[in-house]
C-alpha cells in the first residue's frame, strides 16, 4: 500500500530502492564468479554470429555494464568477412559443411568472396538474441574489418542457469582457394 502511494507521487521507498540495487549487484557478483559460464556464453554467441559473418575470434570483447536500472551485456565482435549476397560463410556444424565459398584472385587488391547459399540451422542455444544495431551497416566489401557492437539486455534471475555450448564444434576458418588465373 505504501509502495502504491509512493508510486502515485513519483517516489520510491528506500526499501524498494534497496531491493532493486541488490538485485543488480548480485547479478553482477554472480557473473563475475562464473567465468566458465561467461566463456561458454561468449563461444555460443560467436558461433551464432559466425553463421552470418566471419569474425575475428581473437579480438572479441564481451563484458557487462550497469546501465541505469539493468545489467547489460556488451559485445564487440570484429567482422572480417561478409559474403556479397549476404549468405553464410562456410561453417562446420556438427561436423557437416553447409556452405562453402571460393575466393578468386582478381586484379583488385582484395580477394572477392562468394559464398554458396546454405541452410542455416541455428544450433547454438544462445539465451540472448543478438541483433546488430540498426544504424551500423555491415561492410559490403569483403576483407574489411568492422566491429559490430550489440547490446543485449541480460534479463536474468539472481542465479543464472549454466549455459553450455550446445554445438561444440567451431566454424572452420574459411580457406582461400586460389584458382590459377
Amino acid at each position: 500500500m505504501i509502495e502504491f502511494f509512493n508510486r502515485l507521487f513519483g517516489r520510491q521507498t528506500s526499501g524498494a530502492t534497496a531491493k532493486e540495487r541488490l538485485r543488480l549487484v548480485l547479478m553482477s557478483d554472480h557473473l563475475s564468479l562464473a567465468p566458465e559460464m561467461i566463456d561458454a556464453m561468449k563461444r555460443d554467441l560467436v558461433d551464432v554470429i559466425s553463421h552470418y559473418v566471419e569474425v575475428d575470434r581473437d579480438r572479441i570483447d564481451v563484458h557487462f555494464e550497469h546501465q541505469d536500472k539493468a545489467l547489460a551485456m556488451l559485445a564487440n565482435i570484429p567482422i572480417t568477412g561478409v559474403a556479397r549476397n549476404g549468405a553464410s560463410v562456410e561453417h562446420a556444424a556438427n561436423g557437416a559443411t553447409n556452405g562453402h565459398l571460393h575466393a578468386e584472385r582478381t586484379d583488385a587488391a582484395q580477394p572477392e568472396v562468394r559464398a554458396a547459399p546454405a541452410q542455416l540451422p541455428i544450433e547454438a542455444d544462445a539465451q540472448q538474441a543478438l541483433a546488430p544495431s540498426g544504424d551500423e551497416p555491415l561492410a559490403p566489401a569483403a576483407g574489411e574489418t568492422e566491429g559490430v557492437t550489440a547490446a543485449a539486455q541480460a534479463q536474468r534471475t539472481a542465479k543464472p542457469k549454466a549455459v553450455t555450448a550446445k554445438n561444440g564444434a567451431r566454424p572452420r576458418r574459411r580457406r582461400r582457394k586460389n584458382t590459377a588465373g
Binding site: 526499501g15 534497496a18 543488480l24 549487484v25 557478483d29 563475475s32 564468479l33 550497469h66
Partner: protein, 281 residues
Amino acid sequence: MQVLQTQDEQPLSGSSAALGRAIVITSGKGGVGKTTTTANLGTALARRGARVALIDADVGLRNLDIVLGLESRVKHHVLDVLEDRVPLDEALVRDKNSSTLYLLAAAQTREKDEVDTDKMIALVQTLRERFDYVLIDCPAGIERGFKNAVAGAHEAIVVCTPEVSAVRDVDRVIGLLGNRFEPKLVINRVRPHLVRKGKMLSVQDVNAILRLSLLGVIADEPEVIVSTNKGEPLALRNDSPTASAYHAIAARLAGEDVPAPMVEYKESFMERLGSFFGGRR
C-alpha cells in the same frame, strides 16, 4: 605497480608538497559501522573541500561501493591496480555527490591473501601524494585482510559500539595495532535511553576500558539503514544528527577544536566491567 602519470594530475589543495594522511578505520568486531564511518567521514571531509580517496580493503566482501551508491560505476578494483592490469586513474571512481571524493573498490571475487602487502603499502603512498586524506576501510577480524589494511596506514580510527563483545574486540585490536598508532575512538550506535536505564554501556564506560582519544560519538539512528538502502551517505544531509556527528568528527580530524556533544548519561555500572577481561583492568 604502476607509477602514477602526472600529466592530468590536479594539484593538491593547500600545500603541494604535503603528503595526505592515510587513516585505517578498523574495529575487530564486524558490523559496528566501519564502512558507514568510512563513507560518511569521507563525504564530510570532501564537503570541507579536502581531496579524499577511499579504499575498500574488504576483498571478497566489498561493501563500500554499495554504501556510497557507486556499485554500478565500479569497473576495476584494487587488485587490478596492484597487479598492473589498469592504471590507478581508471580504477578510481568519482563519487556521485562529492567531486573531490574517490573510491577504489575491493575485488569481489578474489581472496584477501592474494593482496601483496608491500604493493598495498606502495599504493597507499601513491594515493597520499594525490589526496589530502586516504581512508582505508578495514574488514572485520584480525586476519590477513586486517593486516593488509593496516599496513599502509599511518593513523588509525577504531570504531566501537557500547556492547561488551565490541569493546573486547577493540581492546584486542588496539594491542595488535601496536606502537605505530595512536588510535582515535569513535563510539557508534549509542542509545541514550538504554544507557539511562543502565542497560547499555555509556561512553565513559567504554572509554574507561579503552582509554583512547575520543574522536566522536554517534547515536543510533534508523535513518542510517535508509541511507544505505538508497546509497546516499547521511553526511550529505544537513538535518540528521548522524550527519552532524560525522561533520564534527571530520572537523576534529582536521585539527579543529569541536566540543563533544552533550549527552545525558546515568552513572553506570563500572564494577561490572572488570569481569569482561577476566578480572584484570
